[in-house]
Amino acid sequence: MSQAETTEVDITVLEQEGEVAADYIEGLLDIADFDGDIDMDVEGERALVSVVGATLDELVGKRGEVLEALQELTRLAVHRRTGNRTRLMLDIGGYRERRRAELTKLGEDVAAEVRQAGEPRPLAPMTPFERKIVHDAVAAAGLRSESEGEEPDRYVVVFPE
């Protein structure tokens, strides 16, 4: 099988995952009487389902905890219907996008500070999604970082060269 064909199959699978996820989330929005449209996309090797619309803060929650819970349930719903252990990403009200921008900036700033100070620097506890963004930003800046501690208080430590 050529590379192109493999990719095509994968995208079909991801789109199917997105459909199941969108049905699950849309059902909840209808019941809870939330306005919101659902966008589906494939980002890298994951399906991305985004709810866009008016006031959705309740569905995001403090530090995105409600969003993480909904994503977890949505992944289970996709698994039940497709048998796939999906890495589907759910976003609500652009939360993940905003958070990604903020945390990339944080990672870059801290990397610069640690490089100057020459001492490791621990950050505040973050979710796995958030830590990944910080690790990526620190790595892009040419420094090393690791996660330490236990969930839900796991945090990133940035090390000097």
Binding site: Y24, G27, L28, I31, A32, D33, E58, L59, G61, E65, V66, E68, A69, L70, E72, L73, L76, A77, R80
Partner: protein, 80 residues
């Protein structure tokens, strides 16, 4: 609305969606939502180390908007 939302969330993740029942009762200071599922699905709605149960409670808590709501998960044969 909360019962309906909980029923939808649970039905989507179990093998026996038609056997999901959600009941509600008032307690002092809030409400209890009681979810009953097929015995084979109980492990599924609780999840490893209670992860799925916690996710269900987090979402329902958010939809309840500050009111106290307890979510109990049981299999259909459990008597209380």
């Amino acid at each position: 609305m909360l019962e309906e939302a909980l029923e939808h969330l649970v039905r989507g993740i179990v093998e026996h969606p038609d056997e999901v029942r959600v009941g509600a009762r008032r307690i002092r200071g809030g409400r209890v939502l009681e979810v009953r599922v097929h015995p084979e699905d109980l492990g599924k709605v609780i999840g490893r180390s209670g992860r799925t149960a916690k996710a269900l409670r987090t979402v329902i808590g958010a939809l309840a908007g500050g009111r106290y709501v307890r979510v109990d998960l049981l299999d259909v044969n459990e008597v209380r």
